[in-house]
């Protein structure tokens, strides 16, 4: 299947890999935001995940340990954010921005001496004969385990939010923290846990960049992926399957335009590069034109500070 010199199968397979970091980060941020906390520090958590995962993988020789290290690094950053915003009640926007700056600096410090080091390779899962199926084989059965984990997380998040009591509590806290508090739910605990989940996901996303996609460490290597993840959550109007769609569109357009160029097809590069952002703006305009904030699907308590006395 070749269209305009681009092999569609290779394109889809590579966009799945390219989108995995932002997908992981975005699904984590979705949970955090569903609990009513706006954490703008995704970029900082990702880059910390990238370096912590890299260090863990290099020293243990195992990429799996690396991803755990990355998740831990991201979680540690998220806990810092939770402490500042949930206990000390600091402003979430400012704290999130600070978290990003802090993460970029700290990761560069930890990363001293890791430039040019090669991490252990993450192998693709072996599905045996399934990989030989034409078209579906390369798309579905020739990836590493993190790609499948990211897809499982999307499905899991959707199921938990929709069908489980845990999901209901999380949404209640995010929609109206005073009511949830009055019902006896521990708003701060729920939010801290949600933030930790977000941090772990962002950290794994970062580790995916430093262990699989690039694979090496350089300072600031996430290069804005965290911000794209934040945009995708809004684009998806806080729905898990739309996060998947959004992440694949963002990742897909990036990969597509590079491949179109490599294939020698004359396309205006700038237009394709800005396409995902244009789509996000369009989606926001269309949705907000309908019925205001509720229609966008934003949790009603998003970004509002909770204190039991108020």
């Amino acid at each position: 299947m070749t269209i305009g010199g681009i092999d569609l199968v290779v394109l889809i397979a590579s966009l799945m890999v390219a989108s995995t970091p932002i997908l992981l980060a975005a699904i984590g941020e979705l949970i955090a935001e569903k609990s009513g906390v706006l954490n703008l520090g995704v970029e900082g958590m990702m880059i910390m995940g990238a370096i912590c995962g890299f260090v863990a993988a290099v020293h243990s020789g195992s990429p799996v340990v690396g991803f755990f290290g990355g998740a831990l690094g991201g979680t540690a950053m998220a806990l810092l954010f939770a402490f500042l915003t949930q206990i000390l009640l600091s402003n979430q926007v400012a704290t999130g921005l600070a978290l990003t700056l802090f993460g970029l600096g700290l990761s560069a410090l930890i990363g001293q001496g890791y430039n040019g080091v090669r991490p252990p390779q993450t192998d693709n899962l072996n599905f045996g004969p399934l990989t030989q199926i034409p078209v579906l084989g390369p798309i579905l059965f020739q990836h590493d385990w993190v790609v499948y984990l990211s897809l499982a997380l999307v499905a899991g998040t959707w199921a938990v939010l929709r069908y489980s009591r845990v999901g209901l509590i999380l949404r209640a806290v995010g929609e109206n923290h005073d009511a949830a508090h009055a019902l006896g739910y521990r708003v701060r605990t729920v939010r801290t846990l949600a933030l930790m989940f977000g941090g772990a996901c962002a950290g794994m996303g970062g580790a995916y960049i430093s262990l699989v996609r690039v694979p090496q460490w350089s300072d600031g290597m996430t290069a804005g992926a965290g911000w794209i993840a934040l945009a995708i959550v809004v684009f998806a109007s806080w729905r898990p399957w739309r996060v998947l769609l959004g992440a694949y569109i963002f990742g897909g357009v990036t990969v597509l335009q590079l491949r179109l160029q490599a294939a020698g097809i004359a396309i205006p590069v700038q237009i394709l590069s800005m396409a995902p952002y244009l789509i996000t703006i369009l989606v926001l305009v269309i949705m907000s034109a309908r019925r205001g904030r509720a229609a966008i699907g934003a949790p009603a308590s998003l970004g509002r500070i909770f204190h039991a006395s108020s």
Binding site: V214, M221, A223
Partner: protein
């Protein structure tokens, strides 16, 4: 009466102090403050890394006679003005702006601080207190292109390009012309990534090129990401900006190195002895601002000898990449036989030469 004399004396002393600061008299006791703004971080292993090496060399060379300060990760564009102003207000007398996109901000800030001198890397706009300096990277790129042309088996050379500015276009042309002169079948595939530093995107671009059959990779971006992908794919590539020797002997078979150290030491010295004045400097292989990294054993001896010979000829001035006959991409004549492009034409180069496929985005 006494008080008035005191005031007058101190005024004289003040003037003397002010004059002294400019001259060499005070240099020994009062360190010269030198500022730098970087577009990335020293850990990029490429462009900013090299500037940082030169900064460290300045510190080592002058010891406590200089005091340097750095602002990293400065975005190109309006925000650079804030960073430059901050450095100027902090008392830095010489400020190095180390990326093309800092040019207009530098010119603006230079107007506001006429007593501060600026060094603008790869820029072209002049002011009484702004020097422009850059390397003739295309000379090094010519040598790499010649190696690439002989190393490719698929006859497809991949090129990861950052932004469509003359410096980058010059590099693509130089690589292509020299590859073509040794291998008439050589093609070049260019991918524009619109960033200097985004390892993931650079890696994606490298992968896209490799899937298109490219087996030699060149890059004009700052990170070593493409190198890592090349290693995985088992093809060869060239270091960019810094030696990237961690990837030798393969995939890195040679490198195009920016060496700012001699220039930075000289310009700081000029500040100290008061001889600094605005200049436009464009140094190449001969002056050592551009260097070709060690050619590894992965390259056949014959190819290596040819490359070293080419380098020597460029240094001696007997070979010039942009010497006619050369046509523009559309087939119209650019340079007649024996005609060499002058620096003005090279500085504003905005078209591909004949034979390169694809369009330069505009």
């Amino acid at each position: 009466m006494k008080r008035r004399t005191f005031l007058a004396n101190s005024a004289v002393a003040g003037t003397a102090l002010a004059t002294g600061l400019a001259g060499r008299a005070m240099a020994a006791s009062d360190p010269l403050k030198v500022g730098f703004i970087y577009v990335g971080v020293p850990g990029d292993g490429g462009w900013t890394y090299q500037h940082n090496l030169a900064k460290q060399a300045v510190e080592k060379h002058y010891g406590d006679k200089v005091k340097t300060s750095v602002i990293e990760n400065v975005p190109e564009g309006a925000d650079a003005e804030r960073a430059l102003t901050q450095l100027a207000l902090a008392g830095n007398k010489l400020i190095f702006a180390t990326s093309f996109g800092f040019m207009d901000p530098t010119i603006n800030v230079a107007k506001k601080f006429p007593k501060v001198n600026f060094e603008m890397c790869t820029g072209y706009k002049s002011a009484p207190n702004v020097s422009n300096y850059s390397g003739r990277f295309y000379e090094g790129r010519a040598v790499c292109g010649a190696i690439a042309g002989q190393m490719t088996k698929s006859n497809k050379i991949g090129y990861i390009a950052s932004f469509p500015i003359p410096e980058v276009i010059r590099g693509i042309n130089a690589a292509y012309i020299n590859a073509k002169r040794v291998n008439p079948d050589a093609e070049i595939k260019v991918v524009w990534v619109y960033t200097w530093f985004d390892p993931a995107k650079e890696a994606d671009a490298a992968q896209a090129l490799i899937n298109e059959g490219v087996d030699v990779l060149m890059q004009h971006t700052d990170s070593t990401a493409a190198m890592a992908v090349a290693k995985k794919a088992g093809i060869v590539a060239f270091g960019q900006d810094s030696d990237m020797s961690a990837f030798a002997p393969t995939p890195r078979i040679s490198a195009l190195i920016d060496n700012w150290t001699p220039y930075y030491i000289k310009r700081v010295g000029d500040m100290m002895n008061g001889s600094w004045k605005a200049e436009n400097v464009w140094y190449g292989l001969k002056e050592g601002m551009v260097q070709v990294g060690e050619i590894t054993d992965a390259v056949p001896a014959k190819v290596k000898a040819h490359a070293l010979d080419l380098e020597a000829k460029i240094k001696a001035g007997t070979y010039h990449t942009f010497e006619g006959p050369l046509n523009k991409q559309d087939g119209s004549v650019w340079l007649k036989k024996g005609e060499v492009a002058d620096d003005g034409a090279l500085a504003g180069l905005n078209f591909y030469v004949e034979g390169i496929q694809g369009k330069i985005p505009s």
